[in-house]
Amino acid sequence: MELSAPRGFDLWRRLRHEPTAAFGLAILLIFIPLALCAPLISPYDPLFQNISASLTPPSADYWLGTDKLGRDLLSRMLYGARISLWVGTAVVLSAGMIGTLAGLLAGYLRGWVDEVLMRVTDIFFAFPSLILAMAIAGALGPSLRNALIALVVVTWPVYARLIRGQVLSLREQEFVSAARASGSQHRRIILRHLLPNTLAPLLVQASFDVGTTILSVAGLSFIGFGAQPPLPEWGVMISEGRNYITTQWWLTGVPAMGILLLVAAFNLFGDGLRDILDPRLRR
């Protein structure tokens, strides 16, 4: 049995009625506009230092407190959400596109193309992803952009495998044979018949991966291989506040809470989406 994607409106309606998905969606619907509007709603410049207000606890002036350089944490959090969401979606979109293309080709053409592409994914799967990402980011020079490239490199094989598996079972189905028999060209079969039917599992995987990517970027930045200070990236913020964890908890607690909420939101959303798109797995 194949997963089939319900059409737009239906999917939206069912998402709202799935409690976990709805909860994840609600968090995302709070975070995304906040991140988009960061320049408009931030009370301060996220890089502005006010040493006299250094290490202020959450208060009326500074809702989430300030860091050791007196920078407003709320403003840094809003800009940080922008960075995390942007990196998460950029990585998953790029990796998803590369992987989907590879998976479609491997699954549809079979033969040596399939063999070569799958052995290449084997090699990528062998690397512990963070170590590979770190080595790539180190080789290219530590920066947010290079961390992003590194994460695309370690993420795309997941999609190649996923899509290949889908295509392998789809290509045996009658509607594909019918299209082939009626003289459709390869390109048309791939784009019109195979691709749309792989979208459901693709969406589920992408939702989980945005969360995983946000965690990885924060981790890479934390150890110095991703975003660099003074950029208000959440991993960088936790790294900068690490010596104050027992005295000024908000320096690390606030960005950690941001990561937790955003990643949990994507995980819940992915869970809900999977339950909706694949009713057999509903528990």
Partner: protein, 335 residues
Amino acid sequence: MTRFIIRRLAGLIFVMLGVSTMTFMLAQLVPVDPAANALGQNARPEQIEAYRTKMGLDRPVVEQYLTYLRRLLSGDLGESIRTRRAVLLDLRDYLPATIELAMASLVVSLLVGIPLGMWAAINRNQWNDGFARVLALLGGSLPVFYVGLLLLGLFYRQLQWLPGPGRLDSTLNPPADITGLFTVDSLLTGNWPVFQNSLAHLILPAITLGAFSTAVLVRMTRSAMLEVLAQDYVRTANAKGLSYRTVVWRHVLKNAMPPVLTTIGIIFGSLLSGAVLTETIFNWPGLGRYATTSVTSLDFPAVMGVTLVAAFIYPLVNTIVDIGYRFIDPRIQSE
């Protein structure tokens, strides 16, 4: 079965060849001259040139690659630029710390994850199920490095219940080197104080590293148990009047284990990746920290060595799990 094992091992060799090629290509990407980097800022141009000739860096890339592969086959991973020792010797020093940490984390995940997953499945949709699921969500969504910092801040700095970073208090000498695992070696040599101390040092990093995999195991055990609980033979077992305990332990748990076993294999790979962050926070002298310092100092012979070893362990563990699987579950036949 023999054919299956041979095929898996052949696949492993191919993967290792690919991995070494990729790490070699990665080293070529570094925009810094390796000779100048190795000799430091004060090196004269003719010294750099001499080093280049000595290390074969003036040869064409393809030739360098073939030399690298040839050396690799004889077990020579090159010399670290930073420590000026054979990379293999460095790895031999650092690997046991990571293995000890990964094992301890695996124990934490198994002891917490499987019972919690079972508990959740048996009490499906009750408060305990909700509790376990929230815990799994937290474990899967919290950044590992924050968990580590928090545990260290709370249990070491604030409450002073547990020792801080490192594998052992600085006042103690490491045990005689047998396996390289401090807890095991101290136990083997009957060195009680070192055993206690190294075990205490393991607790916080093991929990930190194990948090994520525990979450994965809770989810996996729960869903595997639920799947089996819905089977006809479980209904039959219930119907014929077996006690709930017997049904769960004898019928459900046994049949829910195969997917959980696969997950454990996969978890081991994620433990190695996660070890990078955990080792940084706990100043744990393992592979992850060696990798981090090597990448920072652009010590690419060392980086290549670490990635190679790390990339070897993961498929090796999975191959072992796959082979073990076929012994446990005879229904799985070779394709």
